[in-house]
Each structure stands twice: as C-alpha cells, then as structure tokens.
C-alpha cells in the first residue's frame, strides 16, 4: 500500500505550530452537543440542565404512561465525563424505587451503561434503554433481588407492590416516597 502516513505526519507538525492557545470546545462537549442535537424525546421524557452552560451534567425526568410504573415521576442524574464517548455516561435514579433493575441507592443495571457500552452509542440509545426498563423490567438480570423474585413469582403481586411503593407505602420492610404524578380527578 501507498505510504501516505509519513507525509501526513510531516503535514501535521507544521499545522500544530499554527494552532492557538485559546480555549477550545472539548471533544466530549462536541459529541454531547451533537447527541443533544439528535435527541428525539417522547412526551414522557424531559431534560433539565441545572447549569445550562454545562451540558455534561443534566437530569432526565421520566413519566411512564404505560406499564407497571404508569403515572410515576422518576428522575435520573446524567454525569458525563470528559472521556465521553470513550466512557459511558454515569446514570443514577434519584428516587427510591421498587424495580428489579434499579437498586435502592439508584444504581441502574443497563447493559449499555457498562459492559456493552460502545463509543458509537449515543445519549438517545441510553435514554431508550432506560425507557425500556420501565416498560419491561428484566427480572432475569436483577439489581434488586427481592423485586426480581417478586416479579418472577407473581406479576400481579409485583404490580401491586410497585403501585404501593409509588404511592409512598412500605414494601418488604422498605418505606418508599410517593412519586405519583398528582393529577386531579385521577385515582392514585
């Protein structure tokens, strides 16, 4: 093959000298900006940036309109490192939740947030993944074993427990905070 690389290196040397020392938009910022550009969020999901100038940290609010968690309001903190997209974003759930794949500390078990992360994946993929966890919790790959066993044993009972946790009740000795969206005229 043609040896073009040595010429490329020569060229690069001369260009670096022409560079400037002004602050440059970092590659993580560029990539997140691009991902935000391409985000297509359904009505049930919104974002909030506590500091709008810092796009590497934001809060995602999910209000499922179907499934076990219908009517609940859940927020997730997204913390993106400067190594993004080499490293996945760090995502935690802020509410105490009765969910097979989210532990009581808010850690989220989603393959693409850990072992299956790839730089070609984007924020949209992560958000879709989280959304999917709320539509179809995965009892086979659990982080909260009690919830997983509950779901495997009897989906009806699991459903009732999810509802009572969301309403601020106590399930299996754990007391939860009320996370139901207040809608006038709707049964909690």
């Amino acid at each position: 093959m043609l040896k073009i690389w040595s010429m490329k290196k020569e060229q690069q040397k001369s260009e670096v000298a022409a560079g400037s020392n002004k602050k440059k938009v970092t590659s993580a910022q560029l990539r997140v900006q691009k991902d935000l550009n391409e985000l297509s969020l359904p009505d049930t999901i919104s974002t909030h940036f506590p500091n709008p100038d810092d796009i590497l940290n934001f809060v995602l609010t999910l209000t499922p309109d179907e499934g076990f968690y219908k009517g609940g309001v859940f927020t997730f903190t997204f913390a993106i490192s400067v190594n993004f997209p080499h490293e996945p974003p760090k995502v935690t759930c802020n509410e105490k939740i009765y969910h097979p794949n989210i532990d009581l500390n808010g850690n989220v078990c989603l393959n693409i947030l850990r072992q299956d992360w790839m730089p070609v994946l984007d924020l949209n993929a992560v958000i879709v993944g989280i959304q999917f966890l709320f539509l179809e919790p995965n009892a086979g790959d659990w982080l909260n074993k009690e919830a997983a066993d509950d779901m495997k044993g009897d989906r009806e009972r699991f459903y009732r427990n999810v509802r009572s946790a969301m309403a601020g009740g106590t399930v299996k000795g754990e007391t939860f905070k009320r996370v139901l969206k207040a809608k006038p005229g709707e049964k909690a």
Binding site: M1, Q12, K23
Partner: protein, 437 residues
C-alpha cells in the same frame, strides 16, 4: 510479444494464472517509480492487491463497472453497499443484472455475479444506506471507491472519512476515490482525507440542480417541465397529502402526468409526456454506458496504483487530484489540482475565521448560519468552551438558551473565542473563531 519471458514469482505461477499479464506490471521495475517510492517488484505488491480490503459504494451504472474492474484487477476482498433494487431501465448498462433480477437488491446480485465469474474473489454485499454503518465499519477498509449519483451521500462518506483520521492510528487514513458521470461528462478524483482537497472543498464542482422558483410553478408556467413540477410539488400536496409519493409507482406517475397535461393545455404549453413526467419527477439524467466505463476504469486504475504503488497515482499532496472528462464536445480530458480549502467546514483543521459585529445579536449570527451556502443549518446547536450559546434541541435547553438570541455577541463571547456549531443534518462539527469587527 511472446509469452516465454513471463517472469513468475515463486509459487504464484499457477495460483495467479489468471493474472499472469497484470502481474508483469507488478514484478518488473516501474517506469515512473523506484524503491524510494516504496515499489519493490515481486511478491509484495501482488500480496497488497490480494489483501487490500476495498469498499465500493454504489452498485449502479458505475458500481457494476467498478466491481468488475476491481475483481479482474485481482482485488480479492471487496465489500459493496447499495440500497437500491434493480429496475428494468437499468438493464441496458448495468451489465451484472438480468431480467430475472428485476426487483432484487443491486448489491447482492452484483456481488454474486462477479464472484461467479472471478473465482477466489469475495464480495460482501450490504443492502442499505451508508449511514447505517459506523466508524468501526469504515475503519476495516484500505480504500473506498464511490460510484454514486447523490451529492448528499458523497458528502456524508467524505465527512465520515475525514472524521476517521486519527493521528494515533496510521490505518485510519482511507484514500477515497470518487467517480461520477452525467451523460457524456464525468470525473474521477482521489482524496486523502485531511491531507488533500476533499469533496466538501470541491462542492462547487457540482453543478447545482436547476430549480424553478415555486412562484413560477404556481403562477406562470412557461415550459412543460414547469407543469410537471407544479403537479409534483403543489398539486400532489393539495390533493393527496396523505399518500407518500412513490416515483416508482406507475399509478402515481400517471396521476401527475394527467394533472400536468391538463395544466399545460390550460396555458397552451405543449410537450408534456408520460416519460417526461417520469424524468422530471425522478430527476433522471440520461446515463451513457461508455462514459461509466471510462470513469470507472480510471477510478479502478487509481485504486490499483494506490494498492501496489506500481505507478504514481493522482491525488498526492501538491499534485493533480481531479480528472475531468468531457465527451459531448469531441473528446477532452483535463487533470488538475483542486486546492484544499483551509476553511473547508469538513476538512479544514483550524476553525474558520468569522468576523462579526460585536453589537449584533446571537440571533443574527444563527440566522446567518442558516443562510451560509456551506452550512445551511436548520436546527443548530451552538456553544463556546464555557457557554451554551443556543441549543435548538433538547426543548429544555432551548428554553434556557433562547434568551441569548437577543443578546449582543460581546456579552456572550470574547474576541477570538472559538465556537462549535452542530446540526442534525451534518455529521461534522463546524468550528468558527469569532473576531469582533
């Protein structure tokens, strides 16, 4: 003249019987290259051709020629991408397809045909869009050859290959060979992404598609084509909004033809025919088989030279990189160096300088991006290192940043600061260094 003097390299005589003659080129010193250029006649260049992984984008008029030429030149590991299926009107020049193949995907049929004719060559087809594939996919290849009819696809692959270049990885630099034809005219060019003038730098070499102003179509048609465009753009939207126009559906074309014909009669314009309707709506440019053959041959020769270094290729920095061919006024070819644009939005390494009035607003700036011919941004996101200037997506950031639109630039930026602009329509980031006037 006699075949007696054919030098055979060890052990390859029978294995490469089919390439006995082309191997002579690779096993003898070249007239225009020597070892300093990296050309060592013998096994090395032969192995290079056999091992090179080459990606062909497009399996249409040019693509059929390119696949055939590459396989017959001895390339053995070829991939081909095309999203189209075979139409009966392709058969006159897309010679890898037969009548029985109509409706089948071009990439698959072309790959199978060539593999059957050239044993030992593996062609892997992918039926779909180039945009389906990520950087890791494109990183596998040594050379990319394009035989496309769309500028959009060219710009996408160009931006992708420019982005791929990583100073830590010598294999990330993929030579891009681009062929294109239109009637009797064509071009072939070689691009070393980030090193030499790229497709974005050369965007002005593509003649823009002649578009008639909408008001002409709506109010005063003068040509049969105006009536067809009117039926296509205005009437369809009015009467069949719920139906997505399928330009391959004869019922849809007939409908447009009848509407266009009625309008033409109303304005005393003659010449609207069914085939003209089809041509205008599908933007058909007559394709000439031999122009495709000429351009594809040139592209494949460049690929062969890049893979083997047996002769100088075009496209080296500071040298000719663009061959244009014109066959409609006798025969004319001209090869020249298209200069790299330092401010190319795709391959310009340094941010482009942008002089702004410090008291004009961010809104004015955003609007000017929408108008700049090289960007034409529809849904831009803008930031500096420290500040989210304006984000059109997601909704919450738009709400938080739209207030900046009315602020003067000197309140948001300092003189000389870099801003980055992205848009869903472009895979590349546009960078500007803002200077106050």
């Amino acid at each position: 003249m006699a075949a007696a003097a054919v030098p055979t390299t060890n052990g390859s005589a029978t294995r490469r019987a089919r390439w006995t003659y082309s191997d002579r080129i690779l096993s003898r010193p070249g007239a225009y290259v020597d070892e300093e250029d990296g050309f060592v006649p013998g096994e090395a260049p032969i192995t290079s051709v056999e091992n090179a992984r080459i990606l062909v984008i497009g399996a249409g008029g040019l693509g059929c020629e390119i696949l055939k030429n590459l396989a017959l030149s001895g390339f053995k590991k070829i991939d081909v991408i095309d999203m189209d299926t075979i139409d009966v009107s392709n058969l006159n020049r897309q010679f890898l397809f037969r009548e029985k193949d109509v409706g089948q995907p071009k990439a698959t049929v072309a790959a199978n045909f060539v593999m059957k004719r050239v044993p030992g060559c593996t062609i892997t087809p992918y039926v779909g869009k180039i945009q389906d594939k990520d950087q890791d996919y494109y990183l596998q290849f040594n050379i990319v050859v394009c035989g496309l009819d769309s500028i959009e696809a060219r710009r996408w692959i160009n931006a992708t290959l420019v982005d791929l270049v990583d100073m830590e990885n010598p294999d990330s630099l993929k030579p891009l060979i681009d062929g294109g034809t239109e009637g009797f005219k064509g071009q072939s060019r070689v691009i070393f992404p980030t090193m030499t003038s790229c497709i974005e730098c050369q965007l002005d070499m593509h003649a823009p598609r002649a578009a008639v102003p909408l008001c002409t179509l709506a109010s005063i048609p003068r040509q049969p084509q105006h009536c067809i465009e009117w039926a296509h753009i205005i009437k369809w939207e009015e009467e069949r909004k719920d139906v997505t126009l399928d330009t391959d559906d004869p019922e849809h074309i007939t409908w447009l033809y009848k509407k266009a014909l009625a309008r033409a009669q109303e304005y005393n314009i003659s010449g609207v025919t069914y085939s003209m309707t089809q041509g205008v709506v599908k933007n058909i440019i007559p394709a000439i088989a031999s122009t495709n053959a000429i351009i594809a041959a040139s592209c494949c020769n460049e690929a062969y030279k890049i893979a083997t270094t047996c002769a100088p290729c075009i496209g080296m920095p500071g040298q000719n990189n663009y061959m244009l061919y014109t066959g409609d006024t006798s025969v004319y070819t001209y090869t020249f160096e298209h200069q790299k644009k330092d401010d190319c939005p795709v391959c310009g390494n340094l941010p482009k300088d942008l002089v702004v009035n410090p008291t004009s607003t961010l809104g004015d700036l955003v609007e000017s991006f929408a108008e700049r011919p090289e960007s034409q941004l529809k849904k831009p996101n803008l930031r500096s290192e420290g500040k989210s200037l304006y984000y059109s997506s997601p909704a919450s950031l738009m709400a938080q940043t739209k207030g900046n639109l009315v602020k003067p630039l000197n309140e948001l930026l300092s003189d000389g600061e870099e801003i980055a602009v992205t848009d869903p329509a472009f895979s590349t980031v546009f960078k500007y260094r803002v200077h106050f006037s």
